[in-house]
Symmetry: C2
Subunit: 153 residues, 2 copies
């Protein structure tokens, strides 16, 4: 059973982001320490019959966005806006089946500094890493930087 | 009137890459020096009603892939495989309307070295830059590295 805040994000993706819906991207686990988001291969194929780089980049970027949003809204207790502003990605091996991304929450001193800055300045930045797997094998490595700000009531 | 090799790539995208079709990505210009690929905003919206980062990353990645493919197949005179293996992207400003990417062909000494290596070793690597614009204003900067190899007959 998925946590309510993560369920709510899945509903937002499905309602507000047409490409997330078309790609079949869904948060499938979130325990406050690691977020997992899954994707089926079929809608995300490329010309070689493997995972399309655009879909892989999208999955990692959106999963990082989800973690930044969950952490920020957990600190603030209300809605926050989050936008990626920089990222790097390495494609290590072709994806030949359904795949998923894991995004770990950063070390506690980093998330505490992020939370303090967000509360004091109403905005903060957060760097996150992610990795995409298929059957437990790492296929893609990602690093993204996100800007977060409190939404005006 | 779009050049035949670029038309052929648009047909491949539309037939073989479901997400390129859903996003409405199309090469709209290719003169051997710069490639332009366009995207409509509507299928590529995010939760904020602006361009979805995943779609922006996909457009830049696919347009770079197209240039690497056109250059490689121009050198070889036959089909080549191309795969992105690394990229960086910076999102400079929100996209609020239809958008397009421009990918310049690198300087002649770079493309010549790429062509020679591809002919001698049947494989080569190519670094490309791209920028996404809306109404002439730069919104996204991208750099990608592509691996190219000659397809077995």
């Amino acid at each position: 059973m998925l946590e309510e805040s993560a369920q709510h994000l899945n509903q937002r993706f499905s309602r507000q982001i047409p490409m997330a819906r078309q790609m079949g991207l869904r948060i499938t686990a979130w325990d406050g320490r690691t977020l997992r988001m899954d994707a089926p291969l079929a809608p995300n194929l490329n010309d070689k019959g493997t995972g399309f780089a655009g879909s892989l980049a999208t999955l990692a970027t959106l999963a990082g966005w989800a973690v930044a949003t969950l952490l920020a809204e957990g600190v603030v207790g209300g809605p926050c806006e989050v936008a990626v502003f920089k990222s790097e990605i390495r494609y290590l091996a072709p994806v030949t089946g359904d795949f998923y991304v894991l995004v770990p929450v950063p070390a506690e001193e980093i998330t505490q500094a992020f939370g303090l800055e967000l509360q004091e300045r109403s905005r903060a930045k957060l760097a996150l890493t992610a990795a995409i797997y298929q059957d437990g094998e790492e296929k893609v490595r990602y690093r993204g930087r996100y800007a977060v700000w409190m939404r005006q009531a």
